[in-house]
Symmetry: C2
Subunit: 107 residues, 2 copies
């Protein structure tokens, strides 16, 4: 991420799209899910790298603490595809001037 710009915010008029944005993010790294893995017993999703790192530290779901091992992880490909299209959709909406412009560069 650029050190000069924060990510553009969703305007209040698109509050529900902002909800979709949040649902597509990993609760460990806060970035968009990257190779989304679903914990089959609780349905929580994380980036493959993020959850594997976490599980090497503690064998539980970070969000709900259910006991979890790597074999419980299943690739949630629909989320990967949705993240891909949603990122591009943000650009489309930006072009239509619906999102606030990025902040001015800080010196």
């Amino acid at each position: 991420m650029s050190q000069f710009f924060t990510e553009p915010e969703w305007p209040p008029s698109l509050a529900e799209l902002k909800n979709v944005d949040t649902l597509l993010r990993c609760a460990i790294c806060f970035d968009y899910l990257n190779i989304a893995m679903m914990v089959q017993q609780c349905s929580h999703n994380y980036c493959s790298l993020c959850i594997r790192k976490f599980l090497s530290y503690k064998t539980q779901c970070p969000l709900c603490h259910l006991a979890v091992t790597e074999s419980d992880l299943k690739n949630n490909r629909a989320l990967d595809e949705i993240v891909k299209s949603f990122k591009l959709a943000r650009h489309e909406l930006l072009k239509l001037n619906l999102e606030s412009p990025p902040m001015s560069p800080q010196i």
Copy 2:
């Protein structure tokens, strides 16, 4: 669905949001996923009712034909939440006049 109106189309300027829309639909009934169930071995998703009906007829994934039984189905709750917010997001965008208006009622 109303007999007089078709669902509003996504305009070409929002082609990627249309992709997201498609990814949130069930390949059996073509409606938005309703209680999305993921087939764990292939990551395909369907409405819970749709896939259970299908499996009573043929124990395979409708899309890729991998052998599937009901125990392979896991609730994909993230998709359920995204569908909920996305449907409301459509309304928001409609209000901002980005989508074509619904077709005129047919007599």
